[in-house]
């Protein structure tokens, strides 16, 4: 995974300034947590990284080289896979259709390309079993599945992209305790494989359990970056909620940036 750096990202929605010059970086092989209050701009930031939104200003670089993600496909091609907060599943479609939506496998017959349904089913089975996601059948509408199963399908979709950086926006929000543990385990496994992970979560316990560093967003600005080992939940909560105004933000040296 190349070092990712997003600089001075600005995003407006009509009159709302969702991101006001945010800097954000992820080192190779690290789990970076991204936390902040509701509406702080976390999802907006990672949607820009995912190519789903276009920033109004700011740059993204991978290993120092500027990149431009005009569509989610562009981001996938650079090895960035995103599991959206809203999962981005289509309820009235089957599981393989969902996992391969937008990047279907095809097979050419007489010069015309058709969907390779068999290959997609096989791959879907592999993905689901590697994540230990239990489903009654592949041929069910995903809207009929449980929250955990749907989460599992969204994660499988990201896993199916041979990604170096996996972005997870609230992956554990809908899950029961055992399933949360599975997701955290999965994040650790990704890191062991040398991949980077961005984890967005409101659950600081989860964040402290798996992350290497924590970036805090507050009202569309970066409120600070901390190494997980050297901080406490209290300090993070302080950064999230304004309480610690003493040392803020943009001036803080990006400790650990060159370290990896």
């Amino acid at each position: 995974m190349p070092a990712l750096r997003m600089s001075r990202i600005v995003k407006r929605f009509g009159g709302i300034l969702a991101l006001d010059g945010v800097d954000f970086e992820v080192n190779p092989g690290e789990v970076m947590a991204l936390v902040g209050d509701n509406g702080a701009g976390k999802s907006t930031l990672i949607k820009i990284l995912a190519g789903a939104y276009q920033a109004d200003a700011g740059t993204i670089t991978l290993d120092g080289a500027p990149v431009e993600f005009k569509s989610p496909q562009d981001a996938w091609n650079r090895g960035i896979a995103t599991i959206y907060q809203e999962l981005a599943l289509t309820g009235k479609m089957m599981i393989p259709d969902n996992i391969f939506l937008g990047r279907e496998l095809k097979r050419r017959v007489f010069g015309v390309s058709f969907l390779d349904r068999r290959a997609m089913r096989e791959r879907t089975k592999q993905l689901l079993s590697s994540l230990d996601v239990q489903v009654p059948s592949l041929d069910v509408w995903v809207e009929l599945l449980s929250g955990g199963q749907r989460q599992g399908i969204a994660i499988s979709r990201a896993l199916n992209i041979d990604a170096e950086l996996i972005v997870m926006d609230e992956p554990t929000a809908a899950l029961a305790v055992a399933e949360v543990r599975k997701v955290l385990q999965f994040i650790r496994r990704l890191r062991e494989q040398g991949k980077s992970v961005i984890l967005i979560s409101h659950n600081l316990q989860d964040v402290f359990a798996v992350s290497d560093r924590i970036t805090v967003l507050r009202q569309g600005r970066r409120a600070g970056v901390r190494e997980t080992r050297h901080t406490t939940p209290e300090e993070i909560i302080g950064l999230i909620t304004w309480a610690s105004t003493a040392e803020d933000d943009q001036e803080t040296p990006f400790e650990g940036l060159g370290a990896a």
Binding site: G51, A88, T90, K92, M93, D97, E104, F114, D139, W141
Partner: protein
């Protein structure tokens, strides 16, 4: 026919305990039996072949309507497209052009009008019902301006084999319908494009997040429906050899009714081509039967509109009962 868990697209999705296609089959047999007891002419081969011939243009348009409704859209302007395309065909014939030129002109014009709908819906973000209602009135105005209340008649019969022809004893219409539905089915179920169409109908936001080019798919879908309306115009002219002022008036209502009867969800996401085709057959049989037993043709639209409302109400009730969000 479609067990629970059947793949979506051709047959309706796995939501219903009893597939809509089965219900429609039962309904077709029931009305068939009813009309057969009221009129001995109803079940004759001659009558049924006539019904088939009169169904081909609706069936062709209905395939497009099914795709549009699966995409979460609607096109109430198909009758207007049919009319304008038929005028171009009529005038091209009058100008002495041969079939090889006339047919592409008719289909080409219709495709462009369909694409225009698509552009308005996709780029200007006008809700499809409003956009196509607007273009419908524009198309109808064109119709009146150009033919000014008279018929274009006396068109050549060189294409009537499309309607009256037979191959190994099977009427030509069967092959046309087979071709159109076969192609649409392949598009819907075996092409990525069809998956993208369904995804847009299910959840446009999700479709956007996975990088589907929504505007392009929408424009293509409306253009395709336009093209099918153009084919329907060719068939219409081949069948009647004239273009009259009331051409295409009820065809949008009939196509929407057939699609919804066939199991499509008017809110998008699912639909069934086979079901829609059976809906067409059902509607055309009912219309034919009503005429045969001497009911005024005014009642046709009442019956179709009523059926549409009943089916939509039952769908809404089913959704509410199963507690699924609308």
């Amino acid at each position: 026919m479609a067990p629970v868990g059947a793949p979506d697209g051709f047959l309706a999705g796995p939501r219903r305990a009893v597939p809509r296609e089965v219900i429609l089959m039962v309904a077709i047999i029931a009305v068939g039996t009813l009309f057969a007891t009221q009129s001995e002419f109803f079940l004759t081969e001659r009558n049924l072949v006539t019904v088939l011939r009169n169904s081909v243009d609706l069936a062709v348009i209905c395939a497009g309507m099914t795709l549009i409704i699966i995409m979460g859209g609607i096109d109430v302007s198909v009758g207007g497209i049919l009319a304008v395309s038929a005028i171009f065909i009529g005038h091209s014939y009058k100008a002495g052009l041969p079939d090889e030129v006339v047919v592409p002109i008719g289909i080409g014009v219709a495709t462009m009008l369909g694409a225009l709908n698509g552009v308005i819906v996709a780029k200007a973000r006008v809700p499809p019902i409003i956009a196509t209602l607007g273009t419908m009135y524009v198309f109808i105005a064109v119709l009146f301006l150009v033919i000014g209340g008279t018929w274009i008649h006396g068109l050549p019969d060189t294409l009537s084999f499309l309607i009256r022809g037979e191959f190994v004893g099977i009427p030509a219409g069967v092959f046309i319908i087979g071709c159109v539905y076969g192609c649409c089915w392949v598009l819907l179920r075996w092409q990525a494009w069809g998956r993208h169409l369904c995804a847009i109908g299910c959840d446009e936001g999700s479709a956007r997040l996975v990088g589907i080019n929504i505007d392009r798919v929408k424009i293509q879908a409306y253009a395709l429906t336009g093209a099918l309306a153009g084919i329907a115009a060719v068939l219409y002219v081949a069948r009647l050899r004239n273009v009259e002022v009331n051409i295409g008036t009820n065809i949008a209502l009939e196509a929407i009714a057939a699609t919804v009867l066939g199991g499509a969800d008017i809110r998008g996401g699912t639909g069934s081509l086979i079901g829609a085709l059976m809906g067409v057959i059902f509607i055309k049989l009912v219309q034919n039967g009503l005429v045969l037993i001497g009911v005024s043709s005014l009642w046709e639209t009442v019956v179709i509109g009523g059926l549409l409302i009943i089916v939509l109400t039952l769908d809404a009730l089913e959704t509410r009962r199963s507690g699924r969000p609308t």
